[in-house]
């Protein structure tokens, strides 16, 4: 099916938050996550003609992103291996944390189920936010997720405070019912 249109112009607005959330729960570093998301968009652009339209654009981008994340871990792991050879062994116990392995965040810190649930939560919320009208989504994200104060948002978007609260109220109401359906 070649009739499926793909429109990269809107990718960033539509999917960047979703992809970013997907990445940040897996790599735990804002900078790296941003780079990976950006590379994903680039790669998507490059292989646009391979998009068969079998899945949604987002699913397709996620599948690229997954490869990127795996590649990222491969890369840091090979670097780690090289560094390890040069390390001195130290047995007096005070040097705990010197081993690179000890510095890496422990992936089993939380139980697997916890993590799985929380990873899905972020995506579920972004799913629901994606269903909101653009303006509501923007205001809600700025206010709630990024924690800007009311005044800043009002100045930036040129709306009044009461306007903002109406938008927030609408966004919260639809989000709550969306999450109720999909999450609770």
């Amino acid at each position: 099916m070649s009739g499926h249109k793909i429109n990269p112009n809107k990718w960033i607005d539509l999917y960047s938050d979703y992809l970013f959330n997907y990445t940040i729960t897996r790599v735990n570093d804002r900078e790296i996550a941003q780079d990976l998301v950006q590379e994903t968009f680039f790669a998507g652009l490059k292989s646009m003609k391979n998009f068969k339209g079998e899945a949604s654009e987002r699913t397709w981008l996620i599948s690229i992103l997954k490869r990127k994340i795996i590649d990222h871990y491969r890369k840091i792991n090979s670097k780690k291996g090289k560094a390890e050879v040069r390390m001195n062994l130290n047995f007096d116990g005070e040097e705990e944390g010197d081993w690179l392995e000890q510095r890496v965040a422990d992936p089993f810190d939380k139980t697997a189920e916890d993590r799985l649930e929380n990873t899905e939560l972020g995506l579920a919320i972004h799913d629901c936010i994606g269903k909101l009208p653009a303006k509501q989504a923007e205001v809600f994200k700025m206010k709630t997720l990024l924690g800007y104060d009311t005044e800043t948002i009002c100045n930036e978007l040129d709306i009044t405070a009461s306007n903002l609260w109406v938008i927030i109220h609408r966004a919260r109401t639809s989000l709550a019912s969306c999450m109720e359906k999909n999450w609770f």
Partner: protein, 77 residues
């Protein structure tokens, strides 16, 4: 306090932007208003979910940066 006001106060409570007196009035309203009680509980559930560290999104500058880089790429594509 009317329901409209109560709902507005409830929204603001989620962002800690309510005075003590406002909170008291809101609580009194909740005692006798079932609908607002429901709204309030749903609302705080949502706040709790969103506050988890796993829910994140790009800052405006960060998004702009990606957008600009992508635009350049798109033009040369």
């Amino acid at each position: 306090m009317s329901c409209d006001e109560a709902v507005n106060t409830c929204d603001k409570t989620q962002y800690n932007e309510v005075s003590l007196w406002g909170k008291i009035k809101h609580t009194i309203h909740l005692i006798y208003c079932k609908a607002c009680r429901k709204y309030s509980s749903n609302n705080s559930k949502l706040t709790k979910l969103v506050k988890k560290p796993e829910v994140d999104c790009l800052k405006k500058e960060e998004k702009e940066k990606i957008k600009n880089n992508f635009k350049k790429k798109l033009e040369s594509h």
